[in-house]
Symmetry: C2
Subunit: 194 residues, 2 copies
Amino acid sequence: MSQYTEQVKQIIQSYCPISLNSYEALSHVLKPEPYPKGNDFIKKDRRNNKEYFLTEGIVKSYVLDPEGVEITLSFFTGPSVLAPHSTRTRNGISNVSFKALTEIELATADAKEFELLMIEHLDIRAFGHRVLENELLQKIEKEIGLASLSAKERLIRFREKHPVLESLVPHTDIATYLGITNVSLSRLRKELMP
Amino acid sequence: MSQYTEQVKQIIQSYCPISLNSYEALSHVLKPEPYPKGNDFIKKDRRNNKEYFLTEGIVKSYVLDPEGVEITLSFFTGPSVLAPHSTRTRNGISNVSFKALTEIELATADAKEFELLMIEHLDIRAFGHRVLENELLQKIEKEIGLASLSAKERLIRFREKHPVLESLVPHTDIATYLGITNVSLSRLRKELMP
DNA sequence: GTTCCTTTTTATCAAATGTTAATGAACCCG
DNA sequence: CGGGTTCATTAACATTTGATAAAAAGGAAC
């Protein structure tokens, strides 16, 4: 059994248990896909038909605001699963872009094939549902934060949730995620310093 | 054919065409459910197992922020479909609350039964998927607005999207939706006056 | 109509955040 | 090693938004 399929198994099992049988079936449709730092491996308004497991590295999803600035929607830190195909695409066309913030290792599966696996295997289906639920809970949580917390509080919560990111990714990406300018982020960082 | 099932048909067809056969099957699982103004008909942390069509009236989805203030997540204006069960619940427990902002008329279906209909009928399945896609697109759009636009711009866009709401629902609900205080909303309203 | 209650507006002041620009630090490339 | 580039910090000032309180405007009940 190859290295990356074992890692994918770990990722799935962090959500819910999966049978050897299901895992075996899944491993047949997985392909490794490495990308260098800075690569936009999912592009908004382009066709996309894959599911992604992030075995190694850091990724952001983003869109462009009216002035063309990249607004970070989410961060993903491996090992973990990226947002499901159904939440990223409309009619097979991607709504958002994904960029590698570090060198990354992905394991991908065709979305159609993965959907078939979800139909055949109850545990894979359960996994898929939990990922979807999680995705939406995250969005609601972020929405509440943006609507009801100060920038300082949002940064504090961001640090609790992503303790390592601040030292690994550009602060500009974190700033747009928090809905503030990078200058404000720098100011808050100083203010929160011990 | 009763009044409300006909209205539900219109709602579905605003998303995509549906066959008479599928519609017939659907109408058997629909039940009318009226509520008075102010009623919380979906409560966070309580069990919920229904899908909802809003044939008449205005609804908000909301959660409580750390201080107990109701933060509006979305508005729904009939005739339309409410957020799907799968995006509202986790293990059958609701993540959010829904409140009638006017007297409302709902048509409800058991979520399990509706899921079966989606499996049996391709067009109902297509409808379900489009609703889901739409829901996520709305969330992304709102996320971008909160992260990258000023409060004034957010109000302008809100008016474009919901031209009538400002005169029909409490401004406090709109303010928390926009991520500002009701005092700031009042100030912006004055500023944007002709 | 009058009273009571809630919502919205207005005003004042304080605090948070944005804008712009300059400086310094880190890094890559030649 | 030097030069160029990007990114983070800092400063000064402008603008936006929040907090509080009081006044005005609406609505509902009687």
